[in-house]
Every structure is written in structure tokens, then in C-alpha cells.
Symmetry: C2
Subunit: 340 residues, 2 copies
DNA sequence: TATCAACACGAAACCGTTTGCGTAAAGAAT
DNA sequence: ATTCTTTACGCAAACGGTTTCGTGTTGATA
């Protein structure tokens, strides 16, 4: 393998000092015209690129940001990531990504791996296990080391840092209100275990909307499913056991699955039951019928998170830390065929 | 913000030399028991972590690998990425990811950004534009600099490097043969523009299977769609204009979309027309009917690619380069309700 | 008592850059 | 002829580690 061209190798070949080469390449006017031209030509010829690792060491800045998310084969997280990557790149940052796989331990390991100077800060969404354990010491550790963190979507009040979230409660309220305006009254909620903060917020919006419209909450109309392991028979039974004319699901997977199951049981959508989901992904667009759903604008969330983080990285001073902010991204409902 | 603890700061506090601290933390037996304990305790107390950037500079190895893929909001690429990330992590590598967004220029920029010592090697799948332009000088540049590349899925013969691909041709052959065995004869192919090597391979498998079964190829039964912009009316017309009883689509999106369209036109699946797609993603599992599809085992591809790359990075010698290999991942057909 | 090995540690080079400062050479000013 | 400026460059420290080699101290041995 060929030797890398470095300042030193150029200096040796051209019989000048390393600093002269460095300055010449930066077009410093400390260096004579001829020398500059000579050096620049040589550098170009041998395709010199300043070693980024050395620069990072010198600057104590890597221009890398770490992203730790629970899952990557997941529409919402990929859209957020796309937003992060795009914005970060525009500002000259690279993105290192680690998947926690919904595991607390992996989340801890991931943070460990990158908090040794590999990245200048983190963007995270909490794993299911972390939310369940409600243990955030690993995040506190990082913050104590002076490394900034931005949380998005799956956040917690326990940690004081910049955050980007969706207006989950309001949009759920709006969704349920729409059902009611269409004359539907027996409105079900299909959600996950309540330790997911977003599900909980959506549930609150659901309850609030019912209350506001004088509909008594029927706990039987709330179905909690595990976020990945669920039983189709349970779902079928849920719909058979209760008179239901509208369903709000906290994600598009639940919605699509439920639609498939009730359709097999002869239910007409949206005539008999209307469905609405969260996450405007492939399933929503191509399910049958197509699904009315809440678009979370992941790209925007990602961009906002990256902006928060990079601003904070680049404004680091020895003075006090600027106050942390929370940006709320406004969701929108995309009307399709599963509602009228 | 608190000062980072470094070897130097520990040395200063404990009034020993930097090298003593370094050795003590590595449990070198050059250092006395008491000193070691003192240093280790101090380091633990102040949460010392060796600066990864400094180590990278010293070792001329970053333990980072760069992944450049065309898209991230994409089931197949995310599964591959998951495979890469998992395997790389097990071997102590971090993953920096760049999205080319199907653009040649971005692909070039991404490679530029990371080829300055930021990563030890690349795993890539070519962008649509790159495949169309058929220009791979940016890859050659990287290889010339002695940085290894592994290509997966969207590869090219122009570049000599390790590759991981699917047995596209054979599995397409098998898919079409299955149709024929079911008594179907008017078999359509819905594919992308032919500059995609994978689509081309699948098309060859399709043709070969027809030929092998004495079915004359009808070019009218081949529909080429742009990979992201397509017109539903065109698709509807295609199915109306031709008598078709089976369809092989090169991805699940095309398949799901076509199913939706023909169902709207009153076609029964799989009675009238059977459908098969590629990519065993969400759409396949939850479309109506569920889609028989070719599972590409992205995780396996990712793992294989990462293994190739890391082995090559860690075996770098001054001797000659070991011969490049191509690993072929075997696809499998997942039987669902869109075929009988 | 002189010699020597073992022990415990420090000095310094190195990885590749950047940058403040010192300085030799050359020309200008006195 | 002497002093002062420029000009054009080199030296060296610094970033945070690792590692080779050198060396002062100690106790044992001849």
C-alpha cells in the first residue's frame, strides 16, 4: 500500500520545513509566491488531504455527531435520521450511528463507545427498556462530562437538555375530535404499554377529546399491545367484544394490522369502523384501504435536533450553559380512505 | 465545562510522569504495585477514558467504517445496515453513515469527506445516478489511496474489490418457474430502468426461465418504471392492454402498488393474476393480499460486507493485496397469499 | 567492597497538524 | 558603515496517547 502523503513527506521531498508546507497550503502570506506555488502543485499532484484525525486532536473537535436510536428498520426513525444527516452534512459534520435495539444495556454501551472523544455530541431517542426502567444515569454521566445531548421523540423529564418532540397530545385530540365530528362515538385506542412517553401523551389527548365532547371513557375500548410481539387473535377478539366505530392507533403498523383483521371478520372500512394511525410510512400509503394517518415530519424533527446540537457544540464557552430548549414539531393529519 | 481528565492531568496531580500513568493504567509490570493502585483509583474516580482521537492518530487506524448508501428510508438498505452495524460493533468498530440520495455528486462528496483518515474503509451500494453514468473514478481514487471498499447489491464489474450480492438471476428464474409450474403462462415483469444491475440480473433470470419452458418472450409484458416517479394510469393501462396471469416485480413497492391498481379494476389475486415481489418488508407482510416475495436477507449481506471489510483492514500488509472475493447471498421465496 | 541484576520510573520520540515566535538574508534608510 | 525593516522561512510546542530505551536506587552476590 502506497505511503500517505503528509505535510512531512511533502516537506522532505521539497526540502522545506513542515510549517512552510502547512502555511503554503493555507496560502499564508508569510510564504513566498514561488514556494507556495511549488508546494501547492506538489500537494495537488500527490493528492494531499490533511489528516482529519490529527486536526481533530488539535482542535479538540471531531465534527462528528453520534446518533443513538432504538431501531433502524423503522420508517419514523429513518426519516428523522435523514433529517439529521442532511443538516449535519451541510454544516460539515459526519454522523456516527449506533442502534440500541430497544435495549438499555446496548444504549449504555453505545454511549460509552462514543464518549471518549469520538463525537462532539449526541442525538438520541430512548430505548423501550430505558423508558421502562426509567434509569437515565448513563445520560447524566455524559452530560456531566460536558458532552451535549439532544433528545427527540422518546424523551424524559428526568434529563435536562435540548429536546425535540411532536405535539402528540394535541394531534391525538384533534384526531379523536374528527371522529366525533363525523358522528362516531365508540372510539377505541390501540396503543403500547404506557411507559412509552409518546403513547402516553397520545392517550391523554384521546381522553381529553372524549371528555370535552361528553363521551364517557370506556376503559374496555383501550387495547394495549406489546410494541413488537402481539397476538392476532387477541386483536380480533377485542373488536368482536366491543361495539366500536372508530379507532385511533399509535402507529401505522397497529392500524394496518387491525384493519386487516377486522376486514377478514367482514367489517367495512370506513363505513363500519374508521381508522387512523400515526406515522405516514409505506403501510399507510399502500394499505387497503389507504390509511388516514398522522404525519410526524421526521425530517423536520431530525433537522431541529441536529441544529440544536451543533449550535450548542459550536457555542461552547467557559461561561454558563445557555438554557435548554424544547422544540415542538407540529404533526399533521393526512386524510386517506380509512376515514370519511 | 469541566476539564477533561487526561494522562497529563493525572500525572500532574499524582506527581508522576505521563508514561508511568499510561503504563499503570495498562497494568504494566514495569510499574510498582502501589503506584498502579494509586493511579488506577485516581483514574476511576475522575472517570478517565483514553482519548480515542489520540489513539487513532497513533495507530493510524480509526476503527471507523464508512457506509455510503443511496437511501435510508428504505427497508432493504436498513436491514443491510443493521447487519453491518451489529457485526462491526462486535469487532469494536463504529459506523459513519452517509446518504448519497441516489446522486452521483453526493456520492463523490461523501467519499471525499471520509477519505481523509476519518474511516478505515468503506461499504457502499451505488447510487442510481452513478449506475446510470457508469462513472466510477471516485471509487478508483479511494482504492488507489489504499483504502479498501466493499460493494454490496448495486455493484459494478468496473471496480475490482470485495463484493456481496444476491443470486438475483437464479431467484428470479425460480420465481418465474414457480409461476409456470402453477400453469401460468402470460408472465409479466415490472422492473426499473435497466441501468440498475440488480434489475438487469432479475430480468435475465426472468427471460431464461421463460426460454427454458418454451414460452416465447413477449416484450409487451415488460413494464419499466422509474425507481421513484411513476404514473398509476400507465400501470393500469399496462394491465388492461395485456392478458397477464402472473407478475414478477423487482421490489415490493411496485408489487403492492400494482396489486392495488388491478384490484380496483376488479382483478382477483391470485385467482386471475398472481404477484411476486422482491424485498420482504412491511408492505409484503401487510398488503392485501399479503405478498409472496423474495427475501434478500439484508442482515446477512451487511454482515458479510462488514466481515470482508474488517478482515481486509486488519490484514493490511506491505505485501501484495489478497485476491478480492465475491460472496453470493442466497435469496429465499416467502410464500404468502398473492400466489397459490 | 565492588559488581550486578532487578525494580520502578522518567525522558523522549512519534502519530499529523497548526501556529506563535524567532531569525537569517536582503534591501532600505540614516 | 551601521541600523532598521521586510521578507521568507524554520523551530518548537501543543493536542493526548503509546512505547522504547535509559537510568537511579535497592538489595543481593562474589
Amino acid at each position: 500500500m502506497r505511503q500517505k502523503t503528509t505535510l512531512k513527506s511533502i516537506a522532505r521531498e521539497l526540502d522545506v520545513s513542515i510549517s512552510t508546507v502547512s502555511k503554503a497550503l493555507k496560502n499564508s502570506d508569510e510564504i513566498g509566491k514561488e514556494t507556495k506555488e511549488k508546494v501547492q502543485a506538489f500537494a495537488k499532484l500527490y493528492n494531499y488531504k490533511p489528516n482529519n484525525v490529527a486536526i481533530s486532536l488539535k482542535n479538540k473537535r471531531t465534527k462528528n455527531i453520534g446518533v443513538v436510536i432504538p431501531d433502524i428498520v423503522h420508517h419514523f426513525f429513518t426519516t428523522v435520521f435523514r433529517g439529521i444527516e442532511k443538516y449535519a452534512n451541510e454544516r460539515g459534520y459526519n454522523v456516527v450511528i449506533c442502534i440500541s435495539d430497544e435495549s438499555y444495556d446496548k444504549e449504555v454501551i453505545n454511549l460509552e463507545m462514543l464518549s471518549n472523544g469520538s463525537v462532539d455530541g449526541f442525538i438520541m431517542s430512548l430505548s423501550a427498556e430505558t423508558q421502562k426502567k426509567n434509569d437515565f444515569n448513563h445520560l447524566k454521566e455524559i452530560l456531566n462530562q460536558g458532552i451535549p445531548i439532544v433528545l427527540f421523540d422518546r424523551v424524559t423529564n428526568e434529563i435536562d437538555c435540548d429536546k425535540v418532540i411532536l405535539n402528540d397530545r394535541e394531534i391525538a385530540y384533534e384526531a379523536v375530535s374528527t371522529f366525533i365530528a363525523d358522528g362516531r362515538k365508540r372510539i377505541a385506542l390501540v396503543t403500547t404499554e404506557s411507559y412509552f412517553n409518546v403513547s402516553e401523551e397520545r392517550a391523554i389527548g384521546y381522553r381529553d377529546a372524549l371528555t370535552a365532547n361528553n363521551i364517557t371513557l370506556d376503559e374496555n375500548l383501550i387495547l394495549k399491545l406489546h410494541y413488537k410481539d402481539f397476538n392476532e387473535t387477541d386483536i380480533s377478539n377485542f373488536f368482536k367484544a366491543n361495539k366500536i366505530d372508530a379507532v385511533l392507533c399509535v402507529n401505522e403498523l397497529f392500524a394496518t394490522m387491525c384493519m386487516g383483521i377486522v376486514q377478514n371478520d367482514g367489517v367495512q372500512i370506513p363505513k363500519d369502523i374508521a381508522f387512523m394511525g400515526f406515522t405516514d410510512g409505506m403501510l399507510s400509503k399502500y394499505s387497503k384501504p389507504t390509511l388516514t394517518t398522522v404525519a410526524q415530519h421526521g425530517d423536520k424533527m431530525g433537522e431541529a435536533a441536529a441544529r440544536f446540537l451543533i449550535d450548542r457544540i459550536e457555542n461552547e464557552t467557559d461561561d454558563e450553559i445557555p438554557a435548554y430548549e424544547t422544540e415542538i414539531i407540529k404533526a399533521t393529519i393526512i386524510q386517506r380512505d380509512s376515514t370519511n
